[in-house]
Amino acid sequence: MMASHLSKKLNKEWEIILVDKDEVHYYQPGFLFIPFDMYKEKDVVKCKPDLLPKSVHYIPSKIDRILPEENKVLLEDRVLNYDILIIATGCQIAPEEVEGMKGPLWHKDIFDFYTFQGAVALRDKLRTWKGGKLVIHITEMPIKCPVAPLEFAFLADDYFKKRKMRNKVEIYYVTPLSGAFTKPVSSEKLGYLLKEKGIKMVTDFAIERVDNENKKIIDYGDREVDFDLLVTVPTNMGDECIARSGMGDDLNFVPTDPHTLQSKEYENVFVIGDATDIPASKAGSVAHFEAEILTENILRYIEGKELLPAFDGHANCFIESGNGKALLIDFNYNVEPVEGKFPIPGLGPLALLKESKLNHWGKLAFRWIYWNMLLKGIPIPFVSATMSEKGKKLN
């Protein structure tokens, strides 16, 4: 996104180089639908070079480390010098952080759906699974796409109902949070949906280890939850190259100013998306909103102007709730998800924090918007980078 935005704004004096070890670009929101045979593999994959503006120089390479004191990036076979660096290395799952998680049952009875491979393996498992106790689990916060485990639970309920085997499946939702979600209004609403669908919740569960032999997860308080099939969101961590560069915190996220997106340590380094340590959601919409503000700040930095502390933590997420419906939430650092209309106050047409068929269609249409607008740096009409308080039921 930044390459697309900046290629339109920077003059020919600037060379834009994009380094990425993966030539394949995944539409990650689609991974949720693969286990339930709602999307096929080809629906979530495109080739990266096809997505980039022609003026951007693409280098397919792993990054060994960044040397921020010297303004250099070490690749496998060469060194790149930079004037400005934008870190967009994202985050990924690290199941090995929990004892026993990546053990003999990994991708046999314990699955993730946060990777392409995990989602496909889980799909194959579900196709022939005869039922039992399905435990959906979150290891620790933060995770990217914090609503995805809830969506998975709702879609699983649907999936088994359609296959007329819902009574053969017990679904549990196990979370380190104190409720279905982190903020009170949405936590109540989403908790209610879980209850309505007969999904049992276990809260405040801080997993210590997985007992593969007895198929249990055990927390630090010695509480146990047994399972037949465990779908877990493992610890999410920033890329290892950030650790190798000495630039990250305990979870390999880069300390970043929450409003300007400049690195807290190096003035010519900026960070976007899941790679930051800012207290916004790790979500695609956040990266999209950040991109607009970061583009402005890169230009200001180049011109020696003061940066604009404009980013407000704006995030916007569809939550699939099953049965052809979804909810939509819109929030930022200061305002939790509440009811209302989006994007046009009063008119909508999308309802906030309420289930609707239109929201579900919105979620599906989003895939087209992602490939054809977001990645190309084209703004979505009526949706501003900072959150609007209009049209919301605030206290």
Binding site: E140, M141, P142, P146, P176, L177, S178, F181, T182, K183, D204, A206, E208, D219, Y220, G221, D222, D250, L251, P279, A280, S281, A315, F331, E336, P337
Partner: protein, 102 residues
């Protein structure tokens, strides 16, 4: 809202966390702990003081950061503050509940 703890009037939020950390002292800590069914031993107090110092210096608090600090191992943390050690220890320490981001 106002609440009386250990004979002193303090301001707390809806969940009982002190709004102004400066209103805290050890007697108030004991009163909050008692409400949660915990009798504070010197070991409890050592952990509570670490939690307070860390929170007031703006550093993040999570099970992970507690583990890394070495102030207490996580098993013991759960034994000292059963149920939700971060939630409980921060309340007793007179600081805000750790923010879980969305």
């Amino acid at each position: 809202m106002e609440k009386v703890l250990a004979g002193q009037t303090v301001q707390v939020d809806q969940e009982g966390y002190l709004i102004d950390p400066n209103q805290w002292n050890e007697e108030i800590a004991r009163a909050i702990a008692a409400e949660e069914g915990i009798e504070l031993t010197p070991r409890h107090m050592a952990v509570v003081k670490w939690i307070r110092e860390t929170a007031l210096s703006g550093k993040p608090l999570s099970i992970r950061t507690v583990k890394k600090s070495g102030v207490v191992d996580i098993k013991e943390f759960y034994q000292l503050f059963p149920g939700g050690p971060l939630k409980l220890s921060t309340k007793i320490a007179g600081v805000s509940k750790p923010k879980s981001c969305l």
